[in-house]
């Protein structure tokens, strides 16, 4: 294949990765930004979203689009509810202590993963895409559904940005992020905000998973890679910064797509991790982060 089409394919693949990564990492970033909780179980919420999407589409049947749309609505809601319960039962009782919550979320990671193995099983199960249109380019074919993931992710990111910057809920969240004690003094129910943010973070991961599951498959170990990549994105972009998260996700996704196609996937991971190290040394708050208080 010639260089041009090769690069185009690499860029398309990279953009799909970026789109899913941006949503997942945004969830992680919100939870850390507002709650100062490093949620190691974030990848498992992603996995739960995919597994539930399989369960919902299998239960509904009929046209694949029907089941998929239902999964896109229901799966994130269930995952959000589970996250809310976990937040009430575990994180709140630890007073959101940074060290304790890391250990607690590691525990949650294993509990969720093993529950999925017990009840869902070790197989990778497919979900049918809502439509299967193959775009025929002169050099190769490409999945139309993959392109629609990029669009869907962009819409969701814009919606999240609008919520954060233009609504009262967003204002409350930003106030809590800026200074939770002062926010509480002004009558903001910080406990409830924390619960809501944790659920929202998990829901963003679940939505990303529902979008990706028709081209990937639901599998109980699928949460590991997104977790690692999300951490990379969040560190590079700056914790709690929506703009930074999106820019870093596009950067990491595109470089992963292009480097792994022209060189090797391992090199792409090496460079991404090296970038994290460089950012941590020279700009610890991330490219777009503000110095934390």
């Amino acid at each position: 294949m010639h260089f041009g089409p090769h690069l185009l394919l690499a860029a398309l693949e990279g953009l799909v990765t970026s789109a899913v990564l941006a949503l997942t990492a945004l969830g992680l970033s919100l939870v850390f930004g507002v709650m100062r909780v490093v949620n190691v179980a974030h990848g498992e919420f992603f996995m739960l979203g995919a597994v539930l999407a399989w369960a919902i589409t299998a239960a509904i049947g009929g046209h694949p689009a029907l089941g998929f749309l239902a999964a896109l609505v229901i799966a994130p809601l269930i995952v959000g509810a589970i996250a809310l319960v976990a937040e009430r039962l575990v994180l709140r009782r630890l007073n959101y202590n940074p060290e304790a919550t890391i250990v607690a979320t590691i525990g949650m990671l294993y509990i969720i993963q093993q529950l999925a193995l017990s009840f869902y099983g070790p197989e990778a199960r497919p979900v049918e895409p809502p439509f299967s249109y193959r775009i025929l380019l002169p050099w190769f074919g490409y999945s139309g559904y993959k392109l629609s993931i990029i669009a869907a992710s962009a819409l969701l990111l814009i919606a999240t940005w609008l919520v954060l910057t233009r609504t009262r809920i967003g204002l409350i969240m930003r106030a809590t992020q800026y200074d939770s004690e002062t926010a509480q003094a002004f009558g903001i129910p910080v406990g409830r905000v924390y619960g809501g943010v944790f659920a929202l973070g998990a829901m963003l991961a679940a939505i990303a998973a529902v979008l990706i599951v028709p081209i990937s498959q639901a599998h109980y170990l699928m949460g590991q890679d997104p977790l690692l990549l999300s951490f990379i994105v969040v560190i590079i972009g700056g914790l709690g910064s929506l703009r930074g998260t999106v820019v870093a996700a596009v950067l990491i996704g595109l470089s992963d797509g292009i480097i792994s196609m022209f060189f090797s996937p391992t090199l792409a991971k090496i460079i991404a991790t090296l970038l994290v190290a460089m950012v941590l040394v020279f700009r610890p708050q991330g490219l777009f982060g503000t110095t934390s208080r």
Binding site: E13, L117, Y220, P265
Partner: protein, 434 residues
């Protein structure tokens, strides 16, 4: 079900399991009295303990589950027929997480804590390679069902055996003539970037060269990869056959993306069913495989010419004509590999009887008795087919099946002969000290 140490005791669970009940009418009397096995045998001797190193979690979990089912069925049949040397067989399962480090720990645990007679049942090649030194140090006979070439390469040690499934080098050698004659001469290989994949990388090119065909590109893919489109531009346009061997949960994606990339205008495909074990061949996106060919150790779908032994084996393990669990058509088995568990256990039985095996003090005798075996006849104990066994390299050699995807099923179109897969031994384990 689990005893006080939390270990699964198959001698008890298998008897209460509903699916297993159907398999063996003769065992029905035993089934209603789970304690019977224990007490009637207690007067002669304690059970023979087989440590089962199972991939219960990790990327091999789907295989692990079916290896356990097959093992339970074989142990049940062996026990119903009087056990080994008049002693019942008890299986103790430990999860290795499909991880080499944990695999070695599990072997150590079997040797020192459970004090099992042998260790058995490992599939993934990196776990076998990681665990083999521990088996050698503990002088623990280690019977794997892995299909990798590592045992036959004589690079492991004298305690490691693979008597139930043919190794990859032999499989490739026996199938190369068919690939060159029927699929095409210019082959691109796609394989996982670890030990099992390297067997394919190293042995396919010479095997094809001998048939006047050639490998024109080799694409290694990391085993944890979840998206494959980015590798496809490396496939040269003049490729006539894509030879694919993938493992792990992302194989469906692999096939689907290959379909999107090529559409209907694709090269021939020849794959190892490892890519799709435990996966329904009729899953959405797999239509692309229609008309392509696969290696199968033992056919997943019941074939018209199945032997009585094959039928009895399928019934005992509890798989239907489509290779799925009886009563659950979505629960597809790992039929192409798991027969190896059944056959290996019967080899262990034969070797223990030949050696007059009494307990762990006779492990060296068991190793020698296994090495003395030369052939296994097709029959209820070896339902996949006849095999020869080379005691010097601890490896068996059997027939291979090439199946075509046709109308949503796999139909066997070619069976190789045992002689097709024989090669010069690369070493001799029997020269190593016991």
């Amino acid at each position: 079900m689990a005893d006080k140490n939390g270990f699964f005791d198959l001698s008890k669970t298998a008897l209460t399991r509903r699916t297993a009940l159907k398999g063996l009418a003769a065992g029905a009397g035993l089934a209603v009295a789970p304690g019977f096995v224990r007490y009637s045998q207690a007067q002669s001797s304690a059970p023979i303990k087989i440590g089962f190193q199972s991939h219960r979690t990790g990327i091999g979990a789907a295989y692990g589950r079916w290896y356990e089912k097959t093992t339970a069925a074989a142990v049940k049949a062996i026990n119903a027929a009087g056990g080994i040397n008049g002693r019942q067989v008890e299986v103790i399962i430990e999860d290795d997480g499909t991880d080499p480090g944990r695999g070695a720990e599990v072997v150590g645990k079997f040797a020192t804590q459970h004090k099992t007679d042998i260790v058995f049942g490992t599939l993934f090649s990196h776990v076998v390679i990681g665990s083999a030194p521990a088996a050698g140090e503990n002088k623990m006979p280690y019977f794997v069902v892995s299909e990798g070439h590592h045992v036959a390469s004589t690079k492991l040690n004298r305690y490691v055996f693979q008597p139930g499934i043919t190794d990859v080098k032999s499989q490739i050698q026996s199938m190369a003539p068919w690939i060159a004659a029927n699929a095409g001469k210019k082959v691109t290989q796609i394989f996982p970037d670890f030990a099992f994949g390297y067997d394919h990388r190293d042995y396919l090119p010479p095997a094809l060269k001998a048939q006047g065909a050639e490998v024109i590109a080799q694409i290694a893919i990391p085993p944890t990869e979840s998206s494959f489109t980015k590798y496809f531009p490396q496939i040269p346009p003049e490729t006539e056959v894509i030879y694919h061997v993938m493992v792990g949960p992302a194989v469906l994606t692999f096939v689907k993306e290959l379909g999107e990339f090529y559409g209907s205008n694709r090269p021939q495909l020849f794959g190892f069913i490892d890519s799709l074990e435990a996966t329904d061949i009729n899953s959405p996106g797999l239509e692309f495989l229609d008309g392509s060919h696969f290696w199968e150790g033992s056919p997943r779908y019941a074939q018209a010419d199945d032997s009585e032994a094959q039928k009895a084996y399928r019934a005992a393990v509890g798989i239907d004509d489509n290779g799925a669990a009886v009563g659950d058509p979505k629960d597809v088995s790992t039929a192409a590999h798991m027969f190896g568990c059944w056959e290996t256990l019967y080899v262990v039985k034969k070797a223990m009887e030949d050696a007059g095996y009494k307990g762990p003090e006779d492990r060296a005798k068991l190793v020698e008795a296994t090495e003395a075996l030369t052939a296994f006849a097709e029959g209820p104990e070896h339902p996949q087919g006849a095999k020869t066994f080379n005691g010097k390299i601890h490896q068996c050699f059997g027939i291979q099946n090439i199946s075509k995807v046709e109308g949503g099923k796999l139909k066997v179109v070619h069976k190789t002969k045992i002689e097709d897969g024989l090669y010069e031994a690369e070493g001799d384990y029997t020269k190593q000290a016991l």
